[in-house]
């Protein structure tokens, strides 16, 4: 179980998140929504330890991630697909996957297995292993960013606007992967701006405004609460 309790975090003197609480259960897709500048990406970074928490706890299966050095967070089972993909653009597809595997399973046989699994999940990457990541198409880059995060064999998968700027067929492919990961028992925490894209997909929606919790919707509350959700997002 993944739980955030009373998280306050920010950059230097600027506090962005104030006492944010959230939870994501295994086998569920939790969607984090909010207007631009609400603090969604900062929350993702705070979970990864890339933005230091001033107060509060970030717990994954009992471990307080906020108390760990940032580089130890992925080792505890957190895979991160950041906004804008942020691949190691000068490295090849194979090398990006290798970096992902580095924080994943330690045994060579498990690593090979994970790598093969990723290439099965994203066969197109298999054809591009020697190509530099920066030269891939947007959709392929998103596939690689997702594969790189999944190489860790995470318990919690963080996806920050993974469908941004992608063509419909790619959006559907990424959606399928998210569903597949949820069905495998991963806790998926997804940042998404488009309501239509998440209405069916989400098991839980959490809205933040100005760095604070605004409203939470459980699965049965999502459809009836659509108007309120739109009001929160101003659409």
């Amino acid at each position: 179980m993944f739980q955030i309790e009373g998280l306050t975090a920010g950059y230097g003197q600027a506090t962005i998140l104030r006492e944010v609480s959230l939870q994501a259960a295994p086998g569920e897709i939790t969607v984090l929504m909010g207007r631009n500048g609400a603090g969604k990406t900062t929350l993702m970074k705070a979970i990864m330890g890339l933005v230091r928490a001033e107060a509060g706890q970030v717990r994954l299966d009992g471990t307080d991630l906020a108390a760990l050095p940032p580089h130890q967070v992925p080792g505890h089972g957190v895979g991160y697909v950041p906004q804008g993909r942020r691949l190691f653009s000068e490295l090849t597809v194979a090398q990006n996957i290798e970096i992902g595997l580095g924080a994943g399973p330690k045994e060579a046989s498990k690593r090979r297995e994970t790598r093969d699994e990723m290439l099965e999940l994203f066969p197109r990457l298999g054809e591009r292993m020697g190509q530099r990541a920066g030269t891939l198409s947007g959709g392929e880059q998103q596939m690689l960013a997702t594969a790189r995060a999944l190489c860790l064999r995470p318990k919690l998968l963080l996806l920050d606007e993974p469908t941004e700027g992608l063509q419909p067929s790619m959006i559907e492919a990424i959606r399928q992967v998210m569903v597949q990961m949820r069905d495998r028992g991963l806790a998926v925490l997804l940042v998404e701006q488009r309501i239509d894209a998440v209405l069916e997909l989400a098991d839980r929606i959490s809205v933040i405004e100005m760095g604070r919790n605004a409203e939470d919707f459980t699965k049965p509350e999502i459809a009836p609460g659509e108007a309120r959700l739109r009001a929160h997002l101003g659409v």
Binding site: Q72, P74, P82, A103
Partner: protein, 311 residues
């Protein structure tokens, strides 16, 4: 001596300088490439390498070692010692400054003086030699048209030493090894990932600060190795880091900060031109031309010959 043999001699001298410069500047470039900080104390790590080589060879001589054994011990120990000092300086100083580029420049200027003055106090103001492991004179042939067509002969004064050729070969081997390490090894991959995006590297379990300490140490070790290689040709002196640092900056600016390939190409260009111009004209003119080349690069191609714009 005729022009041809004279030019060849100048090129050989230039190649020795280029080899040492390429090693030293690669360390500077590696540090900037991965950590995005400029290490102004880099020249002092070169000096410290040369001084340590003298210290180690003196110690080994006391144990009855011959020149070859002493030199091998110096080539292994001096870079290790200097690299460890640099890694410790990274942890104690640079990490606390959060690797802020401006503050690192100021801090490494301070480090420069600390190392220099420590060397003056511990080693003394005199230049001291280290015996080369081998130093046979090798006469070089030249060809010219004679009565019977093309004839080979040995012009008077056209010679080098086996040690100078060794320095060139050693630098090539070390730089090729560095290239292989960066492109083929897991540790090299981690360094390159850190160079490209430190935050994302952290998000994938890479201990970036540890990588920085290793890179800073490795950069200094490369400078120290250059110092060890040069000290049988040029004596170890506590002020020898200044000129070497200036030339290294010239090389990395022309080659492109952070580009290892660019650094090597620029080192060859600067080393060879320095050797040739120094032999035919004066060493001062060689430095003036190198500085002019930097100015031209900064005006017309600020990212350097091999650098990438707006990284």
């Amino acid at each position: 001596m005729e022009f041809g043999p004279y030019l060849m001699l100048a090129m050989l001298e230039g190649a020795v300088l280029a080899a040492v410069l390429a090693l030293m500047a690669s360390g500077l470039s590696l540090v900037f490439g991965v950590m995005r900080v400029v290490n102004v104390a880099h020249g002092e790590f070169y000096m410290l390498g040369a001084v340590m080589a003298w210290v180690v060879t003196q110690f080994m001589m006391g144990l009855g070692g011959g020149p070859a054994v002493n030199f091998i011990a110096a080539a292994v120990l001096a870079p290790l010692i200097v690299g460890s000092i640099a890694a410790a300086a990274d942890v104690v100083i640079l990490k606390r400054l959060n690797y802020d580029p401006e503050r690192v420049i100021v801090a490494t200027i301070g480090l420069l003086y600390i190392i220099q003055q420590a060397a003056l106090m511990g080693y003394g103001p005199d230049a001291k030699p280290v015996v080369a492991p081998f130093n046979e004179r090798i006469a070089l042939p030249w060809v010219a048209w004679g009565e019977n067509g093309l004839e080979m002969y040995y012009p008077w004064g056209l010679s080098t030493t086996s040690y100078k050729l060794f320095v060139i070969v050693a630098a090539v081997v070390i730089l090729a090894g560095l290239r292989l390490f960066m492109t083929r090894s897991r540790a090299g991959l981690v360094m390159r990932a850190t160079q490209l995006d430190g935050e994302m590297a952290t998000a994938f379990g890479i201990p970036v600060e540890r990588v920085y300490a290793i890179v800073f140490g490795a950069g200094a070790a490369l400078a120290a190795l250059a110092g060890v290689l040069i000290v049988p040709i040029q004596q170890a002196h506590y002020l020898m880091g200044g000129d070497a640092l200036l030339l290294s900056f010239i090389v990395v600016i022309i080659g492109g900060l952070g580009s290892l390939a660019g650094t090597v190409v620029a080192a060859v260009l600067i080393g060879m031109s320095d050797g040739i111009i120094s032999v035919f004209f004066t060493p001062t003119l060689a430095k003036i031309i190198a500085t002019l080349a930097v100015a031209l690069v900064l005006v017309f191609r600020p990212q350097g010959l091999f650098g990438v714009k707006n990284r």
